[in-house]
Amino acid sequence: MIKGKNKILNKGNIICCCGDFSELYRIRKFIYKNAQLFGFDENESNKIALAVDEACTNLIKHSFNLDKSKEFCVTIEPSTLKFTIKILDSGEPFNPLQVVETNMNEYFKGYKKGGLGIQIIRAVMDEISYLPSNIERKENILILTKILS
């Protein structure tokens, strides 16, 4: 999937990164720019970039176990009204949809600290799906879609 080394490809609709949180800034810029080009306003573009940041943060944490030598790619596949982002990695499968939805009242009562990233992704994106790697496909793919209304 991923050719080359850290901080590489950034052509058009794809950006590839190493598993380092320092890459999040670059990913957000890439998503924000493309979301605006697609037609989302500044507020929506910021939120889409935030959702992708959260997905990539989870990926680096849970699929890569903070291993900076691992790499992943983020692609954008725009159609007429759907802005689709795919995050492809070869780490341990981590399906965010299997994480139980957080009740924020309970969350605040318990003064909990983590697990908000998935909550943000759910709040921002219109469609979320996950394809874990299998015998035929070596990559996990998280698909996030936002509909332009």
Partner: protein, 129 residues
């Protein structure tokens, strides 16, 4: 000033309140810098903390998690972490998850600092268990 070129914090004391001025982008990469700054303040026995967001351009859940990590202990000791002067795009992230219920978020730093001198000013933000 502490932090890197993407995120930095200035710290000063105003009327016995520790004020942190955030600048740049607060995400999983930079959140440990904020965590360390708050840990230092609490380590000195201080519990009145004001965080000024006027120069902050971005926050993710990693940043929200830092405030969640400290708020209970700070309030239990009679203090508070008050937040002020957020840009709308930063406030919208707090708002997205309902954080204004738990945190005292003021438009202006001055108002937030004044509220530290009001007894039990954080009471209405405490969540009943």
């Amino acid at each position: 000033m502490i932090g890197d070129n993407k995120f930095s914090i200035q710290h000063k004391e105003v009327e016995q309140v520790d004020c942190l001025y955030l600048r740049g982008y607060l995400d999983a990469h930079t959140a440990p810098v904020l965590e360390s700054a708050i840990t230092d303040i609490i380590g000195k026995g201080q519990n009145k903390i004001l965080v000024n967001f006027s120069e902050l351009d971005y926050i993710s859940s990693a940043g929200l998690g830092v405030f969640m990590a400290f708020i209970e202990d700070v309030r239990d000791s009679g203090g508070d972490i008050k937040l002020a002067d957020m840009k709308p795009k930063v406030f919208s992230v707090f708002d997205l998850l309902g954080f204004p219920v738990l945190f005292d978020i003021e438009k202006e730093e001055k108002t937030a600092i004044e509220k530290f001198s009001v007894k039990d000013s954080a009471t209405r933000f405490k969540i009943k268990k």
